[in-house]
Symmetry: C2
Subunit: 306 residues, 2 copies
């Protein structure tokens, strides 16, 4: 049993009950407590020293990132965050002032997004800082956008620019809460996800959940300046496909809505780029098309011709 | 700034919003989403390898304990668990079969208590297993029992027997969910807490939150067999006061209800001991009384004469 088989096995046998509308496998769990207009979104996310930040990362940015990541998942369901709990694993020796600054960064983003910090826990994690955030939010009943709704013919959009997030953006990104709610209020969005694993990996999650494939236009994919500047082991295009931690939104709509949506977006969010990068097709997998032809993306997210 | 000053400082400056009824500082956060009959309980709790379990602990028991701890907090508020998310930090090398067994233990307790496992996350935590559980529950509106309601004159009760939990009970305890709900349905319980830090420490939490003191009767405190058998560095009595991880309930009721409650309890839960161990008094601190006199407990929870 490898790691993927393990996760698949675990996800299959999890206890459910009547409150669970959507369990493991989407951006958030969706719960129903009988409120007429709202469903609940429930998410946890952890950042770990040496994995998601380093010993050099300013503590305010560690705290900010720890909360921004699950906020991005709430955004991906078109929800509104309400309350978070903070589980802080700390080495035996730690600087209280450093921890206070982690909270400063976390609290500032909580204030900005209307999220209460309703408590949490401090425990010992020898050797490194481990921060897990549990986040509870709400979404208008029936307006939660899952990964599974993409349909052949849909246009695929991404917000912002992709790749090179490790150069700094991963500590400073804005969860797209307002944008996601605006989208679902004005257009019938079919599927949505936030880009945490990289465009190729996260699009694949949408495709697998929806039973579909995608055809991307290479020149339409918005490659960030950071991806271009940092290109060493990867081409900028490969970085945009696979770097991860972009925390932008990827969503699909019926192709007939695509132009109208782009126009309305430009008026509503003139500072944030929105790109139509391709379309959902029948079948499976991801094909990249450029002027020389089309090529399948392999399972690891790397395109052969890039 | 020491650790306690840090926590006090952090708890003071946490962002709140209109949904938060009770924030940091009780067994669970209490949230209001406008459901007429229910409030929500929100809790996170983590277990860490080398702290809360060892490399020798059977994996099923690790998973069981990880969920049982926050369930005990839901019990301490007289609530009902609904859904949990599991954050699993794993070393770079791990045995999938071992992780599957952690879930077996966790799932079994979830099934037994009606708790859905609605998802979670797996991440890397080099060197050791770190499991954080986020738990969402409900409580009948107005029936949540806080730490702050103890009144001078109240009788103090504890369920079960105390001390020596490390001998095995900490891996096998039953969260007192049914007992807590029965208590609040049949008696006006003033304050309640689950015993995780040890009787002395947790009673002190109740006293500080309630602005009161307590007088305990030494001979009335139920000392477990494990505490008696393991007494080495501590007397059995000191173990019952300070060992921690008992996960029994401590609660207070008006003294006029005490006898009636004891009688009703014996009929309802004949297999689970309930002990009246003393009373709430004006002032502060904990006094232990025996036939030779009374003595104050010091700040570290050790009694001088024990």
């Amino acid at each position: 049993m490898n790691e993927f088989e393990l996760i698949a096995r675990l996800a299959k046998s999890l206890p459910a009950n009547k409150n669970v509308v959507t369990g493991a496998g989407d951006d958030c769990a969706v719960l129903d407590f009988g409120l007429s207009e709202k469903l609940f979104l429930f998410k946890t996310d952890a950042v770990v020293e040496g994995i998601h930040f380093t010993t050099d990362t300013p503590p305010e940015k560690i705290g900010r990132k720890a909360l921004a990541r699950p906020l991005s998942d709430i955004a991906a369901m078109a929800g509104t965050p309400v309350a978070a709990l903070v589980t802080l694993g700390l080495p035996e020796k730690f600087e209280p002032e450093f921890v206070a600054k982690i909270y400063d960064g976390l609290n500032a983003l909580a204030e900005k997004t209307g999220t209460a910090i309703a408590g949490g826990e401090t425990t010992t994690n020898p050797g490194r800082i481990f921060i897990s955030i549990a986040l509870l939010g709400t979404v208008a009943r029936g307006k939660q956008i899952l990964r599974s709704g993409a349909k052949a013919g849909d246009a695929i959009f991404v917000t912002g620019e992709l790749g090179g997030s490790l150069a700094g953006r991963h500590l400073e990104f804005e969860p797209r809460l307002e944008e996601a709610r605006w989208l679902t209020e004005h257009f019938p969005i079919h599927a949505m996800i936030d880009l945490s694993d990289g465009l190729a990996g996260d699009l694949r999650h949408v495709l697998n959940a929806s039973g579909a494939g995608a055809e991307l236009l290479k020149d339409a994919i918005p490659v960030s300046r950071a991806a271009k500047l940092r290109a060493q082991k990867k081409t900028p295009f490969a970085a945009a496909l696979t770097d991860g931690e972009d925390f932008e939104l990827l969503f699909t709509v019926a192709s007939g809505d695509a132009v109208k949506l782009l126009d309305a977006w430009k008026k509503q969010f003139p500072k944030l780029k929105l790109s139509c990068i391709g379309k959902i097709v029948a079948g499976g997998g991801i094909t990249i098309r450029d002027k020389t032809g089309a090529q399948k993306l392999n399972a690891h997210g790397y395109v052969h011709f890039a």
